[in-house]
Symmetry: C2
C-alpha cells in the first residue's frame, strides 16, 4: 500500500489564472455564469490547459457484498448485489443508460460479490466472497484491504491509459449505506441517530434497527474510529476501499474526479484524510437524498453541483452532473470575448 | 389579444399515471432517482405518451431596449443590447454556444431594439425603437403590448410547426432587471429594497439608486400594480411581454416550457396570473443569482432544477438544465424493469 503515500499532482495555477483571465473577457457580466465559471477555471488548473475538456469520461462501478447485510439493515435482499451487476452489464441499470447517453466508458468490477458472476464484460478482481460482518469482527483483513484499494488503483490506471479527462466511481453492495454510515460516524464524530437514513427504502422501524446496528459496529471498533485506513478496514467494504484507492490514484495522475453520493463520499472522506491534496481533484456532483450526506459535504467544504434528491448510487448522480462540466467547458472555450464580438464593456 | 384567453391544453393524467407506474417497476429503489422521476412523469402527462422525450428544443431569444435605461440603472451601456444581438447571431454568446451543444434551434427576435440591426438571421418583429421610460409614462401603449405579446405567440407557432418538444424563451435588454424588479414588486407586493439586485453588476451605490428608480416606477403606476397585463404594459418591456405571450401560447399548444431566470420568471408570473393553468406547463430551470428571484419562485410553488448562481439571462440557465430533462427521459424510457432484469424486489 506504499503507493497511497505518493504525492498528488500539483494544480497548474498558471493555467487556472489564464482561464480566470479569459472568463473576465467573455461577453457576459463578470460572474454571471456562476459556478460554471469556477468549474472551467478549476478544470483548467487540473488539466494544465487554458481550454479544458471532459469529453472522455471513465466510469468504474465496484460491486461487493457485505456481511453486515445479515443484520437485516437493507430493504432489499443480498442477492440483489449480483443481480444488479448483471443489469449493469446488460445495459438496464441507471448507470448503464447514463453512460450511454454520455458516450462514457463504463466498466464493472467484481471486488467481492458473495455469488461470483460469469459475464464476459465483467472485470473480476475478487477480494473475497463478501466482506465480513463488522458487528462481529473487522470487515476485512489488512491483506484484503490492500487488494481492494489496488482494484481502485488499477481502474484509474486503465482510465489514464484510455486518456480519460474525468473519472467517476460508482458502487453497488446491499448493506453499504450501513458501512458508509458507520464510517461517517467514526470519522466525523457523529451519533448514528443523526446519520442513519432509509438507504434503499427502510421504514421508521427499519431505520431504528439500523441505528442500533451502526452503534454496535462503532462500539466494537471504537478505538480505531479516527484512523482512516483502519476504520475503512474494520467498518467499510471492498467497494468503498476500491473507491478510496481510485480517488487517491486519480489525484496522483491528475485526473479530475466527479464524486457521487452517500457511499462514494465516505471514500472521499477517507482519501482526503489520507492526503488532503486529494480534495483539489474532486468535484462533488450532488447532495444525496440520504440525509446524512450533508455532514460529509460540510467536511469536504465544497458545494455539490446538483440537489435532486437522488439516492441510488452506482455513480448515477455523478453521471447526471457530467453535462454541467461539459457545458462549463463549451462556454469557456467557445464564447466570444468583448473584443472579438465588438461588445462594449462595463461602464 | 383575445387569444390570451383561449384555454390551456389539459394534462393527460392517464399518461402520467402510466409513467408513474413504470417508474415503480424500474430497477432502483422507489424514489431513488429523486426529481428526475417527477420530471419524466410530468413530461409524460404533458406529451400524452408514456415515454416522453425532449430531443427537439426550440429557443427563442427576444431582444428589446428600455427607456428606463436613461435613469442609469445598468452597469452596461444601452448599446450593448444591439451588440449582443449580433453576438447571438454570430455564435459568440452563451446561449449560442449552449444551443449548439444541445442541438437546439435558436432564433433571435428583435421586438424593439433602439438601433435596428441588419442581419440575415434575425427575425424582425419590431414594436418600437425601445419601450418608453416607465418612470415618466407607461412603457408601452396597448397596441404595442398586443404586438409584443403576438411576437411570443408567433415564436411558439414556429416552435409548434417544427415539432418542438420543449420551448425555452430568452431575453436581452439593457435595463430589464429594473423592469422585472418593478413587476415583482407590483405583483407580489414587495418593497424595492428587498428585490433589487446587482443585475449586470451594479455596486452598492448603484443598487440604492436602482431602488429609488423602481420606487418611482411603482409610485407612478400604483393604481395598476395588481392588474397583470396593465402592470406589464406600464412597467415591463417588449421582450418581457413577448415571453409572457410565448408561455401562454405554449400552454395552449401543450408544449413543455423551461423557464429561465429573473426576467423570464417575471413573464411567468404574469402568464400564470392571466391563466393559472399555464403553470402546469412550466419547469423552473434554475434559481438565479439575482437575489429577488426567490420571491417569484415561491409564488410559482416549484423548486427550480439547478442553483448555480447564474444571472446571465438569454435563456442560458434554462439551456443548462436541458440535459437533466433528457437524462430523466432516457432513464425512464430505457432502464430495465425488475421483471426484465430478473432483479428481486423490495423485501
Amino acid at each position: 500500500m506504499e503507493w497511497l503515500n505518493e504525492p498528488c499532482r500539483v494544480l497548474d495555477n498558471a493555467a487556472a489564472a489564464e482561464a480566470r483571465e479569459r472568463q473576465a473577457q467573455l461577453t457576459k457580466p463578470a460572474g454571471a455564469l456562476g459556478d460554471l465559471e469556477d468549474i472551467a477555471i478549476r478544470l483548467a488548473g487540473m488539466q494544465q490547459r487554458g481550454h479544458p475538456a471532459v469529453d472522455k469520461v471513465h466510469i468504474s462501478v465496484f460491486a461487493a457484498d457485505h456481511g453486515v447485510a445479515e443484520e437485516g439493515v437493507s430493504a432489499f435482499p443480498q442477492a440483489v448485489t449480483t443481480q444488479m451487476v448483471h443489469n449493469f452489464l446488460n445495459g438496464g441499470a441507471a448507470i448503464s443508460v447514463l453512460a450511454k447517453e454520455l458516450g462514457a466508458t463504463l466498466e464493472v468490477i467484481d471486488v467481492g460479490l458473495k455469488n461470483p458472476v460469469s459475464h464476459l464484460g465483467l472485470i473480476s478482481q475478487r477480494v473475497a466472497d463478501g466482506a465480513d460482518n463488522s458487528t462481529q469482527q473487522a470487515a476485512m483483513t489488512e491483506w484484503q484491504l490492500g487488494l481492494a484499494l489496488q482494484a481502485g488503483f488499477d481502474a484509474v490506471e486503465r482510465a489514464h491509459a484510455n486518456g480519460a479527462e474525468l473519472f467517476i466511481g460508482g458502487e453497488m453492495g446491499i448493506g453499504n449505506t450501513t458501512a458508509a454510515t458507520a464510517l461517517y460516524c467514526a470519522l466525523l464524530d457523529l451519533p448514528p441517530l443523526e446519520v442513519v437514513g432509509p438507504g434503499t427504502g427502510l421504514d421508521q422501524a427499519g431505520m431504528l434497527h439500523k441505528v442500533k446496528v451502526v452503534q454496535r459496529i462503532l462500539n466494537l471498533h471504537r478505538h480505531y474510529c479516527h484512523k482512516p485506513l483502519e476504520a475503512l478496514r474494520r467498518m467499510g467494504g471492498f467497494e468503498i476501499a476500491a473507491l478510496t484507492g481510485a480517488y487517491v490514484r486519480a489525484a496522483q495522475w491528475g485526473i479530475p474526479v466527479l464524486v457521487d453520493g452517500f457511499i462514494s463520499t465516505a471514500a472521499a472522506l477517507i482519501a482526503t484524510a489520507l492526503q488532503p491534496a486529494v480534495s483539489d481533484w474532486l468535484f462533488l456532483s450532488h447532495t444525496s437524498g440520504e440525509p446524512g450526506h450533508v455532514f460529509a459535504v460540510a467536511e469536504l467544504k465544497q458545494r455539490p453541483l446538483l440537489e435532486l434528491g437522488m439516492r441510488l448510487g452506482e455513480g448515477s448522480g455523478a453521471a447526471v452532473a457530467v453535462p454541467l462540466l461539459r457545458m462549463a467547458c463549451a462556454l469557456h472555450n467557445r464564447m466570444a470575448t468583448f473584443a472579438e464580438a465588438s461588445v462594449t464593456g462595463k461602464l
